[in-house]
Amino acid sequence: MPSPGRRMPLSAPERLLLGALGLALFFAVWLSCSLSGLVSPTFLPNPGTVLAQLAHLLRHPYAGHTLPEHLAASLLRYGSGLLLACLVGLPLGLLMGWFRLLDNIVTPIFNGLRFIAPIAWVPFAALWFGTGLGGPVLIIFTGAFPPALIGAYRGARLIDPQLIEAARMLGTPHHRMLTEILLPDAVPSIIAGLRVAAGLGWQSLIGAELIVVSSGIGYMMVQAQAAVSTKTVMAGIIAVGIVGTVIDGILRFGERTVRRRYGVVGTSA
C-alpha cells in the first residue's frame, strides 16, 4: 500500500523502462570492470564472453549434458520437491489453522525445524535417499515446505469468523467446511506462501545440486568451477536467475489474478 506522499504509482511501461535501466547499468558496470583490465578475465569474464558461452551451452554438452538438459533434470527434481511440499504443507497448514489441538502439537516441532537451512540437510538427504531423485527432493522439500505450510495456516487462521458462522447457518456440514469454506477463503494466502515456497525451493535445489548429484544446473556449475571455467559458472548463474524469475513471474501472475478475483486490494510485494 503506498503511504501518502511517498510516491505515485507508475504505469507498466514506466516500470519496464526503469527495470531495463537498472539492468543496463548493471551490465555497464560489469563491462567497464572487465574492459578496464582492473579485474582479470579469469575472475570476471566480460559480459560478451559469458553470453556467448550461454548460447554455446544451449547446443553443446558440458559435464555430460547441454544446458537445457541440465535444466530439465533440475526442474524435474524441483517440481517433485515442490509438489511434495504442497501435498504435505497445504493440508497440514489448513488443518493446523482449523484444529487448535493439532496446532499445539505441531507448531513447536515445526518452529524448531524450519530454521535449519535446507543445505544443512544435505548429509542426511544423501544418506537416507541417495543422490538420485530422493536426496535433492528432500532438500527442496525442506526449503519449500515451511512457507507452503505457513501460507495455508495463516489463511485458515485469519478467516473472518462470521464467514464460518454464515456457512454453518447455511447448513454446510462439518466435514465440508474445510474444503468448501476454509480452503477457498485461504487461497490468496496460500498462493502468497506458494510464491515464497517456490523461490526458496529453487534456491535450495541449486544448493543441493552443488553437492549431491551428477546432472542438473548446479552440478554443471560445480564441474565448471573445478575446471576454472568462470564463464560457464556465470552462464549457469544467469540461467538460474532467468528460470527463477520466470517461475516467480508465473506465480506472481497467479497471485494477482486470485487477489483481483477475491477483491483483495494491492499486492503482497
Binding site: 454464515a166 454453518r168 447455511l170 477463503d185 477483491g263
Partner: protein, 279 residues
Amino acid sequence: MSAIEFTDVRRVFQLPSRTAVALDGISLRIAEQEFVAIVGPSGCGKTTCLRLAAGFDFPSSGAVTVGGRPVRGPGPERAVVFQHFALFPWMTVSANIMLGLRNCKLPKQECTERVAEAIELMKLQGCESAFPHQLSGGMQQRVAIARAYVLEPEVLLMDEPFGALDAQTRVGMQEELVRLARVRPRTVLFITHAVEEAVYLADRVVVMTRNPGRIKEIISVKPIREREAWDRLERIEDVMNQPSFVQLRTEIWRLLRDEQRTSEWSRKDGNKPGKENAA
C-alpha cells in the same frame, strides 16, 4: 405458539478479571410473522440475544426456543443477516445465494428457480455473476438478504444489517424491508441502535439496558402504525414526520437516555433502578 421464545435467559461471560453478565432475566416471546426490533446502547447484549436465537451461542441458564424447539446450533431455518454481510468472496452472487439450498440437497432445477426468484425479489438482476467485492455495500446487503430469504426460514435474524451502510443507502434498504415484509411476511428479530429505524420497521420495539443486559421496556408500535395508517405513506420521511411517529421515537429516546444516565451512576455495583417490563 410463539415463533421465538426467550425464557428467563441469562448469559454470563467469564473474563480473566471478572464475570460479566451480558444478559439477565431476558424473557421475550415473538409471535409468528411479528417484526421485533431490539434497541439499546452498545454492550447491552442485544447482539447476544440474536446469537442465542441463531445458535452461535448458548444461554448460561434459561431457554431459547424457535418454533417450540430448543436452539441447539445454527441452521437454515433460522437465517441470519450479518452487519458486515459475510458473503463468500470467492463465490458469485448466484453461488452465494444458492449455497444454503445446495446444502439442503434440493434438486438443481428447484435451486436455480428459487435463486432466480430471490434475485428478482431483491432487485439484483444483472449482478448474478458478479463477485461481492464488485458491488456496493447496499447491493452486498441485498445479496445477504436474498441469501437468507431464499431459504424460506422460520425466522429471520438481522444483526444491525444497515449499520455499515451510508445514510442514503440505509433509507433505501429500510423502505425495501418494509416492502418485503408486505410481500413476504416473516418472523423477524432485528437488532439496531437506531431508534428511528426500529420504530419505522418494527411491530414491537424492545428497549434494553446494559450492565447487566436487561429488557427495560417493550413498546408496541403496530397498533399506532395501524391506527395512524403509516402504510398509506410511501416515503420514509413522510412516516417519520407523523406526530405519532415523532412521539414514539421521543419516548424511546427518553428511555435510552435515562438508561445512559443511570448506568453511569450505577456502573460500580452493576445494578440500576428502573422498571423492568419484560413481556
